[in-house]
Amino acid sequence: MSLDEPTISRRGLGRLGVAAATLAAVGAVKAATSPAAAQATGGTIKVGILHSLSGTMAISETTLKDVMLMLIEQQNKKGGLLGKKLEGVVVDPASNWPLFAEKARQLISVDKCAATFGCWTSVSRKSVLPVFEELNSILFYPVQYEGQECSRNVFYTGAAPNQQAIPAVDYLMSEGKVKRWVLAGTDYVYPRTTNQILEAYLKSKGVAADDIMINYTPFGHSDWQNIVASIKKFGSAGKKTAVVSTINGDANVPFYKELGNQGVKATDIPVVAFSVGEEELAGIDTKPLLGHLAAWNYFESVDTKENKAFIKEWKAFTKNPKRTTNDPMEAHYIGFNMWVKGVEKAGTTDSDAVIDAMIGVSVPNLSGGYSAMMPNHHITKPVLIGEIQANGQFNTVSETPGLVVAQEWSPYVEDTKDLIGDWRAPLRCGAFNVKTGTCTAGKKA
C-alpha cells in the first residue's frame, strides 16, 4: 500500500455513502448462477424447474426444487412417461422477478421443456406469464395466491382465496366469535388483493368499517414493536379480535417473536396466517405461538396412508430425517401427477393437446381424497385449519366436509363478480362475463 493520501475528501464521503446505500437498495441480490444447460437428447422429456435457489425466496423455493427432482426420479423408476425418461432442468432465477421471465424463456426455447413447474411469489408469476402465453408452454404454479387470474397456459395447483382465506375467516367468525379484524400483510400484490377481497367479504357479513384495521409492512420487516402494540390496542375495544396475516416470508419470524414477547396469546387475539407453513416454523421457538392458526390445504401432520408414504420417501430422498413437508410441496405432487396423467391421456407432450387433456384429470391428494383439474385450470381441494403446536407442527382443528372448487374471479370484488374462466371448447375463455355474454380477456382462438 502506498503512502499516498486518499483522494476522496471527507466532505464527499457523506454523499458517496448515500450513493452506496441507494445502490444497495436497488441492487438487492443478483447472484444468478447459470446452470449447465442440459443437452438435448432424443429419448427424454424435459421438465423445467423454475424456483429461486438464492436470494430472499430461497428459503421457501429450494424445497420445491428438491421435491420436483424427487417426483421425477420416482416417475423414472416407474418407467418414465410415454416410454421416455424424464429429465429435470433446474435453473435459478435468484429471487429476481425479471430474471424469472428470462429463465422461463430459456427453459422453453433453448431447453425445449415440455412443461415447467415453478414460481412462488405472485410477482414472479406475473413476470413469467407473458412468456408462457407467447411461447404457448405450460406452467404449474403450486402456491396459494390471490386469484383474479386465469391463463390458458397456467395450471394453478395452489389455493385460490375461497380455498384458504375465506374458510379461515368463516372459521374464526363461527368458532372464535370474532367481531374485529386486523388484516396485516406484506406490501405487494398477493396481500393487497387478498385483503381487498377479505374486506369486501367481511363487510358483506355485516362487519363495520371501524372494526377492520389494515396494515402493510415492507418485505423482511423486522421491527414489529409498535405494530404489535397497536394490534393489542385495537383488540382492547371489548370485542373478540383476530389477526388475518398475509405477512410473507422472513418477516414472520420477528412478528411471531414480538407477539410472544408482548404476551399476545392465541386465546386472546388469535393470528391466522396464510403464508406460514412447517418450513417457516422450523426457524423459531414455537412454544409462545401455541394455538395461533394457519389455513392450508395440507399439513405435514395429516394422518393418512398417502401422506405417511410421501413423508418417508421425502426424508429418504433428502437423506435428512428432519426435513419437513408443506402445502406447496403437496401442490407440486398433485400437479406433477396430473401432468403425467394428462400427457398419457393426450399421448403427446404437445402443449395444446396436453392443455385440453388436463381438464377433468383427477389424482389422489395427500389428505385422503382426490383432487380434480377444473375447466378454470384450478384444482379442487379440502381446506384445513390448523393450530400451531409446541413441536412446530399443526394440529388440524377444522376441515371442510368436502372438496372446495376454486373461484378464480372473486365474487366479492365489483369488477370481477360476473367473470368465470372456462377453457373447455367451445367457450375457451379465461374471463367470460356471464352477464354480458362476452369474453373480456384471455381468449384463445
Binding site: 483522494t7 393489542k232 417473536k257 410472544g260
Partner: protein, 537 residues
C-alpha cells in the same frame, strides 16, 4: 409442579364439599373420551363441557387430567377409556392413575383441543389453583380467572379472597372478581358499580376491554363504565407516547449496533464497505454454531451461550475482516468506486458461501429464558430482549470509544487516519494499523450479529436488511464521529417509530429517507462534522 399444587388445592377444596358428585364425574369423562379424535365443532364443544364439569366435580384427578389435556397428552381408546401419556412414552389410566402397560399407540386417539378449549382449560386450572400454597401460582391463577371472567368462578373467588393475605394477589383476585361480576347477569347494581370502579383503578388495556363491552347499554353502570373508559384512554394516551419513545430507542439501539462497526471502517478509515452487513451475518451464524456446540458439549452453560458467543463472534468476524483487508481492500485505497463494487461483490460471495455451508433456511437461535417475555412499568410494556439489546448497544459503543481513546492501538489508529505520512514518519506501521482498524470494525459488526440473532432471522440475507440503515446512520450522524453515530441512530429510530403509526411502515421508511436526503443536501458532513485540517485532506 403446578399439577401437584393443583391437586393439593383441590383436596383443600374438597373438604368444603359434603357430597362427591360421582355421576357428574362419569359424565365429564365420557364427554372427553367420546370426542377423542374429533375435529368437529360439536366435538370441541363437548370437550369444553367435560372440562367445565370436571373442574367443579371435586374429582381429585381433575387437575392432572386437565393438565394432561393442556399438554396434548390425553388419549382415549375405542371403549372410551382415557389414558395419559407419561414422559417415557408409557400410559397410565387417567381416572385411577394406575399404569396401563398393555395400551399401545395404535389403539389410541388423542383428545384434541382448540383455542376455545384452551381458554376453558386455563379458566378451570385457574379456579382450581386459587388456593395454591405459593403466591406466584395464586397470582397466575387469579390472572387466568380475570381473563376468563367466568361468573362460575365467583364462589371460589370469594372464598379465596377471604383467606388471601398477600396484597398483590389479593388485588388481582379483586380485579378478577370485578370482571366476573360484570359478566354475571344476576349481580346487583351496587356490586356492578364497585366492579367498574375496581377495573377503572386497574386502568390498563385489559380493563378497558372489559369495560367497553358494556358500551351500548343504558343505566348507571353503563354510564360509569363509559366514563371509566374515557379516563383510562386519557392515561393510556400519555403512556403510549412514552411507549413510542421506548420503541424508538430500541430501534435506534439496533441501528446503532449495526452501524457502530461501519462508523470505524467507513467513518474512520473511509472505506465504503458494502460487505459490512455480511460481517453482521457471520456474527449471527457464529452465535448459532456456539449454541449448537454448547448444546452438545456443555448443556449446563446453555443459558449463557450468548455471552460466550460475543467474543467468539468478534474474533471470527474480525479475522474475516483482517483477511478481507489484506487480500482485497488494501489494493483499492483511494479508489472509492472500485472499493464499492469489489466489496459489493464480496458480500454476494460471502452470502453464497454461508448459504452453501448452512443451507438457505433460517437457523433457529434460541432466546434464553432471561431474555424472553416482558415486564410492566406503569403503562409501559418493556420486552426483555429489547431491553438487553439497548443496554448491550450502549456498552459496545462505550467500549469502542474507550478503545479508541485509551489504548495504544486506538492512539495509532487515530494518528494514521488524521495524518498518514506523519504517522508513518513516527514509525507506525500504517498497513498493519489499517488491517487492525478494519478488523476492529468488522469484529464490532460481528458482535452486532449476536444481538440481531435474537430479534431477526438468522439467514444468509440477514446483513442486507441492515446495510442501508447503517450507511444512513453514519452519514446522518457525521462521518468519523462515534457520538454522531450514536445520536444519529437514536434520532432515526425515534423519528421512524413516531412516523410509523401515522404514515404506516412502508411510507414511514420512505419519508425518513427523503428527510435524510434533504438533510445531507444542507449538511453534507452530517450532524456532527469533524473539524480541522484532516477533514479537507
Amino acid at each position: 409442579m403446578h399439577r401437584i399444587v393443583a391437586v393439593l388445592a383441590l383436596i383443600i377444596l374438597m373438604q368444603g364439599m359434603s357430597v362427591c358428585r360421582a355421576d357428574g364425574i362419569d359424565d365429564a369423562y365420557e364427554e372427553l373420551a367420546a370426542s377423542a379424535g374429533s375435529i368437529s365443532a360439536a366435538g370441541f364443544n363437548s370437550v369444553r363441557q367435560g372440562i367445565e364439569q370436571l373442574a367443579v366435580s371435586g374429582d381429585p384427578r381433575a387437575a392432572v387430567v386437565i393438565g394432561a389435556l393442556q399438554d396434548g397428552l390425553l388419549f382415549a381408546n375405542d371403549d372410551h377409556a382415557l389414558f395419559i401419556q407419561q414422559a417415557d412414552g408409557s400410559y397410565v389410566d387417567a381416572r385411577t392413575g394406575k399404569p396401563a402397560p398393555d395400551v399401545t399407540d395404535d389403539d389410541l386417539k388423542a383428545v384434541r383441543i382448540n383455542n376455545a378449549v384452551r381458554s376453558a382449560i386455563e379458566a378451570a386450572l385457574g379456579s382450581l389453583q386459587l388456593f395454591a400454597p405459593d403466591a406466584p401460582t395464586r397470582l397466575k391463577a387469579a390472572s387466568a380467572v380475570f381473563t376468563s371472567h367466568d361468573p362460575a368462578a365467583l364462589p371460589a373467588l370469594t372464598r379465596a379472597l377471604a383467606k388471601e393475605t398477600n396484597p398483590e394477589v389479593k388485588q388481582r383476585m379483586e380485579q378478577a372478581k370485578a370482571a366476573a361480576i360484570l359478566y354475571d347477569p344476576g349481580a346487583s347494581q351496587p356490586d356492578r358499580l364497585v366492579a367498574v370502579a375496581t377495573l377503572r383503578a386497574r386502568g390498563d388495556q385489559d380493563a378497558r376491554s372489559l369495560l367497553s363491552t358494556l358500551a351500548g347499554q343504558t343505566g348507571p353502570v353503563a354510564d360509569a363504565a363509559a366514563t371509566a373508559v374515557v379516563a383510562i384512554d386519557r392515561v393510556l394516551q400519555i403512556w403510549s407516547v412514552a411507549q413510542s419513545v421506548y420503541y424508538g430507542v430500541s430501534l435506534g439501539s439496533v441501528l446503532l449496533l449495526a452501524a457502530a462497526g461501519l462508523a470505524i471502517t467507513f467513518g474512520v478509515m473511509g472505506v465504503i464497505n458494502m460487505a459490512h452487513g455480511e460481517m453482521v451475518m457471520i456474527g449471527a451464524y457464529v452465535t448459532f454454531v456456539v449454541q449448537q456446540l454448547m448444546h452438545i458439549y456443555v448443556p449446563s452453560l446453555y443459558q449463557i451461550s450468548l455471552l460466550i458467543a460475543v467474543p467468539m463472534a468478534f474474533l471470527v468476524s474480525g479475522a474475516v475482516g483482517v483477511a478481507v483487508e489484506r487480500s482485497l481492500i488494501r489494493w483499492l485505497y483511494g479508489r472509492p468506486l472500485e472499493t464499492l463494487l469489489a466489496t459489493w461483490g464480496l458480500s454476494l460471495v460471502l452470502q453464497q458461501v454461508v448459504r452453501s455451508l448452512f443451507g438457505a433456511n433460517n437457523r433457529d437461535v434460541d432466546t434464553p429464558g432471561w431474555m424472553s417475555g416482558a415486564t410492566q412499568l406503569g403503562g409501559l410494556t418493556l420486552t426483555w430482549n429489547r431491553m438487553y439489546i439497548i443496554l448491550f448497544a450502549f456498552l459496545v459503543v462505550a467500549a469502542l470509544m474507550a478503545a479508541l481513546r485509551y489504548t495504544s492501538l486506538g492512539l495509532r489508529m487515530r494518528a494514521v487516519t488524521q495524518n498518514r505520512r506523519m504517522a508513518a514518519a513516527m514509525g507506525i506501521k500504517t498497513p498493519w494499523i489499517d488491517a487492525m482498524t478494519f478488523g476492529l470494525g468488522s469484529g464490532v459488526a460481528g458482535i452486532a450479529g449476536v444481538a440481531l440473532s435474537q430479534i431477526d432471522n438468522v439467514s444468509p440475507n440477514l446483513g442486507q436488511g441492515y446495510i442501508i440503515d447503517s450507511f444512513m446512520v453514519v452519514v446522518f450522524g457525521g462521518v468519523g464521529n462515534l457520538w454522531g453515530t450514536t445520536l444519529g441512530a437514536l434520532t432515526l429510530g425515534i423519528v421512524n417509530k413516531f412516523l410509523e403509526p401515522i404514515a404506516g411502515a412502508v411510507l414511514g421508511k420512505i419519508v425518513v429517507l427523503i428527510l435524510l436526503i434533504l438533510f445531507v443536501q444542507r449538511n453534507p458532513r452530517g450532524m456532527f462534522p469533524l473539524k480541522g485540517r484532516a477533514v479537507e485532506s
